[in-house]
Structures are given as structure tokens and as C-alpha cells.
């Protein structure tokens, strides 16, 4: 048996109650439905799906910012949601988050140097001259001139701000970085720089990444394994190369077919694929699924995630063969 995964998310569901009005009963919204996901140390797992598919909810539950309705989350064998505040504090140092919008996540009235100093002081890692050295080293680590520490966020470019956000996440020497759309707000030329930086840092510090993105090309570039989500459920997981070469779930196939190559679109009528209400029992994708073998079973029986031939897991009655 190999060592246990760094992150184990087991059977996690999250139900939000939405209030429709002051006197109306709330409605349940199932944001996550029985999600099981493991991230091994040193691995980069890409979490792909559309808005509302539950990607960010998983990140927030993993980091202990949100409690799951059912299920458990373990980080390095420690239950995140059963931990006392001391343990949780120590855990939080070990897993850090980088957001899409560096402008919104940096305080405009604090210099970027102070923004990085703060978490280091909170966790009591360095003080005095050692702290200054640490911050300068972090700046160099992410490819920024240490002279920029006295600047305010608005004085930096978007790419530089995202580097500051990454440096801040690294400042407390974490093992896991949760990257929530870290490059989607950046221009193409800057996006390539930040992706390369993330790849370098991973190698240099032996980091583990949970990489949340909607852009499949970016995921393919950086991730070892890919988890595809649809409406709060995992519909397919697999190794990057295999999954991109041969998607088993019709939703993954649809996602991949949307990846624009340099092929020009042919003209064919397009109707909005608004998914109808799947109901509690059937497959969540049944309303828009274009699989030729789609049948009554898809409407009545919910497909569970099961292993298929090529070390993959697929939640589809018709996707791939059972082992």
C-alpha cells in the first residue's frame, strides 16, 4: 500500500437553502452531490466544469471555510472539519488559496510587501531581518523585483499582482495550493508567464496543486489528472492524456468538442442547450445528452461513478466498459 493521499474528499455533499421570500419556504439547492476526490502528494489535479458545477464549493470545503452537509475531508490524514481551532490553524498554513482576481484579493491600502509579511507574522514563522529576507526571497521566487515590495497593488500590472498573490500563498510554506482560476483574468502573453511560473514553483518546492479552471487548454497544459464536474457531481475522472484522447462521458466529450482549434465553424442550426430539470433520480445530464444509446434508464436511474477499462472513472450508463 502506498502512502495515503494528501487530500481525501470522501462522499461530500453540500446543500444550500435558498430563501425565496420572507414567508415562503426555502428551497434546497444541492451544490455538491456525493463527491469523492483524492489528490496525491506532488500531483496536480485539474477540476473542470461550468459555473455552478460546484468547483469552488469543493475548494471552500477543503479549506475548511465551509462545512459539508455530509461526508468528510481529510488533509494528510487529519479530518479538516473535526479539527479544533489549534489544529485547523496549523492546517491552514499547509494549504493556501490563490484566487482569480488578484486585484480584489489584495488590500488596496496595504503595500504588497506588507501583504506578504502579514501571513508570515500571523503564523509566527519569521521576524525582524529574517522576515525581510524571506519576503525578498519570495519576490525573487515568483519573478518579481524585490524593490517592488513598497508598491501598492494599483501600481503593479495584472500579471505582477497575480505573482504577488502567489508569493503570499507561498509565504507560509504550504504543501497544497488551491488555485481557483488563477490565470483566467490575465492576457494571453501574461497567462503563459504565470502558467510557466506555476510549473516551476511546483517543481522547486514539491507542491501539490488543486487547479480549478474552466479553460480546458490551460488544464491540459498544467495538470496530471482531470476531474470533470457537472451540476455538483463528478462525471468523469482520469489521467490527462487518456481523458483528452478519449472522453468516456458525453459531457466530457461535449466539453472537449467545444475546445476551439483553428478549425472554422461550419454552419448548422444551434439551439440553446438549457438542461431541463433532471429530477432527483436520473442522470443530471440527461436533458441535453446527445449519446446515441440514451434510454429510459438514464431518466430513472442515477449513474454512479465506476471504474472503466483505462484507469478512469465515469458516471454514465453507456460510457465505456466496466472492468
Amino acid at each position: 500500500m502506498t502512502e495515503h493521499p494528501l487530500v481525501s474528499i470522501t462522499g461530500v455533499s453540500k446543500v444550500f437553502l435558498t430563501r425565496r421570500g420572507l414567508f415562503q419556504a426555502g428551497r434546497e439547492h444541492r451544490a455538491l452531490d456525493d463527491v469523492t476526490l483524492h489528490v496525491r502528494r506532488g500531483e496536480t489535479v485539474g477540476l473542470v466544469g461550468e459555473s455552478g458545477s460546484g468547483k469552488t464549493t469543493i475548494a471552500r470545503i477543503l479549506l475548511g471555510l465551509l462545512a459539508p452537509t455530509t461526508g468528510s475531508v481529510q488533509f494528510d490524514g487529519i479530518d479538516v472539519h473535526a479539527a479544533n481551532s489549534m489544529t485547523l490553524r496549523a492546517l491552514r498554513r499547509r494549504m493556501q488559496l490563490v484566487f482569480q482576481d488578484a486585484t480584489g484579493s489584495l488590500n488596496p491600502r496595504v503595500t504588497v510587501g506588507d501583504a506578504i509579511r502579514e501571513p508570515v507574522m500571523v503564523h509566527g514563522l519569521h521576524t525582524g531581518a529574517a522576515l525581510a529576507d524571506h519576503v525578498a526571497a519570495l519576490f525573487e521566487d515568483v519573478g518579481l523585483d524585490p524593490a517592488l515590495t513598497s508598491k501598492y497593488p494599483h501600481e503593479l500590472s495584472g500579471g505582477q499582482r497575480q505573482r504577488v498573490a502567489i508569493a503570499r500563498a507561498l509565504s507560509v510554506q504550504p504543501e497544497l495550493l488551491v488555485l481557483d482560476e488563477p490565470v483566467s483574468a490575465l492576457d494571453v502573453s501574461i497567462q503563459a508567464q504565470v502558467l510557466n511560473l506555476l510549473a516551476d514553483l511546483r517543481e522547486r518546492h514539491g507542491l501539490t496543486y488543486l487547479f480549478i479552471a474552466h479553460d480546458l487548454a490551460v488544464v491540459r497544459h498544467l495538470c496530471d489528472a482531470v476531474v470533470v464536474m457537472y451540476r455538483g457531481r463528478i462525471v468523469e475522472t482520469g489521467d490527462r492524456t487518456a481523458l483528452f484522447a478519449d472522453p468516456k462521458h458525453p459531457y466530457t466529450a461535449a466539453l472537449l468538442s467545444t475546445v476551439p482549434g483553428s478549425e472554422r465553424l461550419e454552419s448548422r442550426p444551434a439551439r440553446s442547450d438549457e438542461a431541463g430539470d433532471a429530477g432527483a433520480s436520473g442522470c443530471p445530464y440527461v436533458g441535453v445528452c446527445g449519446h446515441p444509446e440514451r434510454d429510459a434508464r438514464c431518466r430513472t436511474e442515477r449513474p454512479v461513478l465506476r471504474p472503466t477499462a483505462s484507469a478512469r472513472q465515469v458516471a454514465c450508463h453507456h460510457g465505456g466498459n466496466d472492468v
Binding site: D187, S189, D215, V218, H221, V259, G261, P269, A270
Partner: protein, 328 residues
């Protein structure tokens, strides 16, 4: 193919005083009947300001300094009286923006927003305008248009909202549709649907389109011809396929190479050093030279003109005269 829009030497500046900022710096192009032109650039390249200034939608302190935008009837849109321009906007030349939620009025039902445009440009009764609105919603692929017409914008998904924006833009059967980042705010699968719809509508209605995007793949899928902008100028214009297979300008090449692709994985993305300069301080000489691997003294001194480098290909780079200087 006859030219239906001819843009010459368009200049747009922002700010006042002695040193206004030049956002668009001498852009010229022709749009042929039924053609789709894609304009690609990073933020600050001037692509959106170019689109907005075609219909004089630039607010103070922005100012269209000079140039002409002549349509197929020989009218210069930049000097036309405001009332005459208003008749063209939304009718003959329509526009779709990036953010449908921000472009739709949240307190009006979508039907009213579509009929408003129809009735502003055509003399039709309420009933007929409503029927036309239902027809348009059906055309852009909104399911159950008879019911959805009475929905408020917030009751629709982002993809449906963008379809409603398209229905409004198409309501008066425009000759030219300008789409500024039409799919940027949408999810990937929805984006694919909207792109498909645009391609389909263009063919069925015979419209010419100008598609503006930061996303090369969006333009690759829609445009017949692609222009790449940098520092307020066109740096290369070529048929789309030729642009993607053999870009000549070092910036065009770098931009195409820096884009991650889902159909292949490479260990490391080629990057462009530095970042896009700000419009307040364009470098002297070629605007791309500080980030260009092939730049030499001439590039630092003199701005190259946009010249015909090959058949159907215009390039703004001194390499076209001295190709041996290109660094590998």
C-alpha cells in the same frame, strides 16, 4: 465582393492637455460584403475603442481625432449629423457587447427591450412588433419564445441573455454586426453554442461581421480575415487560416504560440517577456521592440509602416525588408 465599410486612418485619443493618450493610432481597413473580420489584441491594444468609434460611441474625455468611416452608401459616419447616425446605429450597423447582464435593462421584460428597438427604427404596431420579437427569439434559438418573451433578464441564464442581445441586434436586419467579446462572459459549452449561432446567422442573413476578442480561438472560428492589434495599431492582417499557420509579425507569432491548446500538450509555453505598454507611454520606434527578440537599431528608432508583405497579408515590421534578421 464590394466594400461596405471603409475605415481610414482612424485616431482616437483620451484625455486633454498637451499630451493626450492615443488609444487608436491610424487604423485602416475595408470590410467586404458578407465578410467577417476578426480583431485580436490584449487589453489596452485599442481593439474595443476601435469598435466603439466606428459608431461614434466614444464618450468624453475620449475623442475621435481624425479619420473616416465610410459606409456602402458613401456616408462618413464620423461626420454624419447625430440624428442621421442614430438611424444607422442599431438598424444598419448593430452591436453586441461582452456583458449581456449589464447591457439589458433589469426592470424591463425582454420582449419590451426587443420591440423598443424595432419600433425605434420601423413603423410597426405593438402586435406586429411583438410577433417579430417572438420570431427573433426563435431565430437565435431561445426555447419557448412565446413564453420567454415575458421574462425578465434575471430569469434567463447568461447564454440565453446573450441570445436576447443578439435578437435585439438582429431585429432590424443589420448589414453589419459588430460583436465585442461576444462570448467572453459565457461558460465553455455555452460559448460554443453562441459561436455556432453567430456562424449560422451570418450565413443565413448574409451579414458582414466585425468580431473583437482577446481570445484567438474565438476569432479563428469565425473570421475570414484576422487583424492583430498591438499598441493601438494593426500589426498584421491576413486571411485567418494563413495567420494561424504562418504569422509574420513577431508579436502575432508570439501571441499564437503563447496560447495553450487542448489538442496538444507541451512542457513549456513560449512567453512574451515584459507586459503590454500603457497608451500613455508608447515606446519610440516599433511599439513591440522592447519585447521583441529580433529587434535591432532600426526598430528602436523608426516605427515601421503597415505594408503589403505578401498576397493578402499586411505586416507592420522591418523584418519584411530584412528577413535575415529574424531571430530563430
Amino acid at each position: 465582393m464590394s466594400t461596405i465599410l471603409s475605415v481610414r486612418d482612424l485616431w482616437v485619443t483620451f484625455g486633454t492637455g498637451l499630451t493626450p493618450t492615443t488609444a487608436v493610432d491610424g487604423v485602416s481597413f475595408d470590410l467586404a460584403e458578407g465578410e467577417t473580420l476578426g480583431i485580436v489584441g490584449e487589453s489596452g491594444s485599442g481593439k474595443s475603442v476601435t469598435a466603439l468609434s466606428l459608431l461614434r460611441l466614444i464618450d468624453a474625455p475620449g475623442r475621435i481625432g481624425s479619420g473616416s468611416v465610410v459606409d456602402y452608401r458613401g456616408r462618413n459616419l464620423l461626420t454624419l449629423p447625430a440624428a442621421a447616425l442614430r438611424e444607422i446605429r442599431g438598424a444598419e450597423i448593430a452591436m453586441v457587447f461582452q456583458d449581456p447582464a449589464g447591457s439589458l435593462n433589469p426592470v424591463l421584460r425582454i420582449g419590451e427591450q426587443i420591440t423598443e428597438t424595432i419600433r425605434a427604427h420601423r413603423t410597426v404596431g405593438r402586435r406586429a412588433a411583438r410577433d417579430r420579437a417572438i420570431e427573433l427569439l426563435d431565430l437565435v434559438g431561445v426555447p419557448e419564445p412565446e413564453e420567454r418573451i415575458d421574462a425578465y433578464p434575471h430569469e434567463l441564464s447568461g447564454g440565453l441573455q446573450q441570445r436576447v442581445m443578439l435578437a435585439i441586434a438582429l431585429s432590424c436586419e443589420p448589414t453589419i454586426l459588430i460583436a465585442d467579446e461576444p462570448t467572453t462572459a459565457l461558460d465553455v459549452t455555452v460559448q460554443a453554442q453562441v459561436l455556432q449561432l453567430l456562424a449560422d446567422l451570418r450565413r443565413r442573413l448574409g451579414m458582414a461581421m466585425i468580431v473583437i476578442s482577446h481570445d484567438l480561438s474565438v476569432v479563428a472560428q469565425l473570421a475570414d480575415r484576422t487583424a492583430i492589434m498591438y499598441g493601438g495599431q494593426f500589426v498584421e492582417v491576413a486571411p485567418t487560416r494563413a495567420m494561424f499557420s504562418e504569422a509574420v509579425h513577431p508579436y502575432s507569432r508570439a501571441l499564437i504560440d503563447a496560447t495553450p491548446r487542448a489538442d496538444r500538450a507541451i512542457a513549456r509555453l513560449p512567453t512574451i517577456p515584459g507586459s503590454v505598454p500603457s497608451a500613455t507611454q508608447w515606446p519610440r520606434g516599433c511599439r513591440f521592440h522592447p519585447r521583441c527578440g529580433s529587434a535591432w537599431a532600426r526598430c528602436r528608432e523608426t516605427l515601421p509602416p503597415l505594408v503589403r508583405a505578401a498576397e493578402e497579408r499586411d505586416v507592420r515590421c522591418w523584418l519584411t525588408e530584412e528577413p535575415a534578421r529574424r531571430s530563430p
